[in-house]
């Protein structure tokens, strides 16, 4: 058999093999040729919906803008109520409105508390630039642009004297651009390649970033107005508070460290892409949705029961975002303070506060900050 004939033989065999495997993957029968005028239907593909009820025929993208606008508006209103109007009733009304919208209608998503994890995951996620992380040396390029990368693909080697260091992609994606030439001398931190992430890579939506930053910015300016008037989780605890019990100060101090632990764990778990613990163990979201794992529904009920006699237990002893807001409000520009010149140290405010936020010692020494 001539060379040409042999090549043709193997090409035909190869084509048959490829065709048969492709066919076996997803086609075992054919669409019948109908004799009647039957039209093969197409499947309906409903698009993402904005909320629990199909009230408006509006795209989710429009609703993202509505969400962020409403959050900003609610924060402004809460600021106005806290600093100018100084009315608890007005604040309760605002928080009920926010509970209805952000809580029950939106089902507790998007929420700033969970957004910590999204922002962490986005920051900790793979960057699009691959840099030399090890020693200085001469670059030896292994791969060409357009190559698909896996986590442990060796993209290039950096030679420094006798030592050769392999640089791995550390992320899935496609090598899109070479930024340093083969044989070039590179120092630590030089950008070597640009990597296009795969289509299913995690990206943080701009709304979530807005939900993360807006309450913190307000806390830096005027304190935790988000907690008092906007947060649906705080509102639902406030509404069921019947008779607040004063907890001993050592207990509130001790439990008050839990949010920082929870925040640390949430950041750790999100950064390592292990779990979104804040979302998984949120006690109120199953109540907002009236559906969820039975364990979480019971836990939510228990926290609600607890909040009938302990003021805002979730906010004070668990909420990781509250910890962040608390840190920000410590250096806030304005805020609600006790005027030392007019205070007669009667201690009524300390008695009245259901959350133990006013310390008796502070009443005497508080100065305007």
């Amino acid at each position: 058999m001539s060379i040409l004939g042999r090549a043709r033989f193997w090409i035909v065999i190869g084509m048959l093999l490829v065709a048969s495997t492709l066919w076996a993957q997803y086609e075992r029968g054919d669409l019948p040729e109908f004799e009647s005028d039957y039209n093969v239907p197409t499947s309906e593909n409903p698009l993402p919906r904005p909320g629990r009820l199909k009230l408006f025929d509006v795209s989710t993208e429009t609703f993202q803008i509505v969400d962020v606008t409403l959050l900003a508006l609610a924060l402004c209103t809460a600021t106005w109520i806290a600093l100018r109007l100084r009315s608890r009733t007005a604040m309760i009304v605002l928080s009920v409105v926010c509970l209805a919208y952000f809580g029950f209608w939106r089902g507790g998503c998007v929420c700033p508390i969970g957004s910590i994890q999204n922002v962490t995951r986005a920051i900790a996620g793979p960057r699009d630039l691959l840099r030399t992380s090890t020693a200085d040396g001469i670059l030896r390029v292994r791969l060409e642009p357009g190559t698909a990368l896996d986590v442990d693909t060796v993209v290039c080697i950096v030679e420094a004297g006798k030592t050769k260091k392999e640089i791995r992609a550390n992320a899935k994606g496609t090598l899109s651009e070479r930024l340093a030439a083969d044989g070039e001398k590179v120092i630590k931190g030089t950008a070597l390649f640009r990597i296009t992430p795969p289509a299913d890579a995690y990206t943080v939506p701009w709304t979530v970033v807005a939900f993360f930053t807006l309450p913190l910015v307000f806390a830096l300016a005027v304190g935790r107005v988000f907690c008092s008037g906007v947060c649906p989780l705080g509102a639902i605890q406030d509404l069921v508070l019947i008779k607040p019990v004063k907890l001993p100060r050592w207990l509130t101090k001790a439990l008050g460290t839990l949010p920082y632990v929870y925040l640390g764990l949430a950041v750790l778990f999100a950064a390592t892409n292990a779990m979104f613990i804040i979302c998984r163990y949120d006690p109120f979201v199953p109540l907002f949705r009236l559906a969820g794992p039975m364990g979480m529904l019971i836990a939510g009920g228990l926290v609600l029961l607890l909040s009938t006699f302990v003021g805002r237990p979730y906010c004070r002893f668990l909420c990781p975002y509250g910890a962040l807001l608390g840190l920000c409000s410590r250096v806030s520009w304005k805020g609600v303070t006790i005027t030392p010149d007019e205070c007669i140290v009667c201690g009524l405010c300390d008695d009245a506060c259901p959350f133990g936020a006013i310390e008796p010692a502070n009443v005497k020494t508080e100065d305007e900050g």
Partner: protein, 198 residues
């Protein structure tokens, strides 16, 4: 007046530190937001939301989609790609194969909630339609159709129901790692286009 009150000096130092901490926090916040938003290279990847979807080529029809979803009735439903369907008389996604009688009585159907309706198109071809209101996403029909038929029945996350949780509870439980993130503008996988489409 020129003599400064020592108390006001203490206060001004304190407010200076407060100002410093505040501006530091503002910068850190801005930096974090910018880092989070620029993490992905392509600009359109930053604006397009991601939603959960099932890769039917990875799905092993274990049935956990029906039970693991945070919703009362799962957001995962069976979808029918009519272009792939063989319109079989003996549909292995519709009939239980361990029954003697091959009638359309409930006990002979695979679907536990009678969500599949079978109508004659022309002999010997039958059309199978999924009633999504009834479907619980258990994947029994999908298993039958994929194992012995064309695989035209497959599970998909229906986005008029899905709440798109940060961490999908089914994705966390999925033994086949079949849950993927897709662009919200194109959230469904059309099976007859073939595997590997993203």
């Amino acid at each position: 007046m020129s003599q400064k009150d020592p108390k006001s000096v203490r206060l001004s130092r304190r407010s200076f530190m407060t100002h410093l901490a505040r501006s530091g926090t503002v910068l850190a916040l801005g930096g974090a937001a910018a880092l989070a938003l620029t993490q992905s290279g392509a600009p359109q990847a930053r604006t397009d939301r991601k939603v959960w979807q099932i890769d039917p080529w990875k799905c092993i029809q274990c049935g956990q989609c029906a039970t693991e979803c945070v919703l009362d009735t799962s957001a995962v439903k069976c979808m029918h790609d009519f272009q792939l369907c063989g319109y079989c008389d003996l549909c292995t996604g519709y009939f239980r194969l361990d029954r003697y009688a091959r009638t359309t009585d409930a006990e002979n159907q695979l679907c536990p909630v009678e969500a599949i309706t079978r109508t004659l198109v022309e002999f010997p071809y039958f059309e199978y339609k999924i009633d999504e209101e009834k479907c619980i996403g258990c994947g029994l029909c999908v298993k039958g159709c994929t194992d012995l038929g064309n695989g035209s029945l497959y599970l998909q996350v229906r986005h008029d129901r899905c709440l798109n949780c940060n961490e999908c509870a089914i994705a966390a439980a999925c033994p086949a790692d079949a849950f993927i993130l897709r662009d919200a503008s194109d959230p469904y996988i059309v099976k007859h286009r073939g595997p590997g489409q993203l």
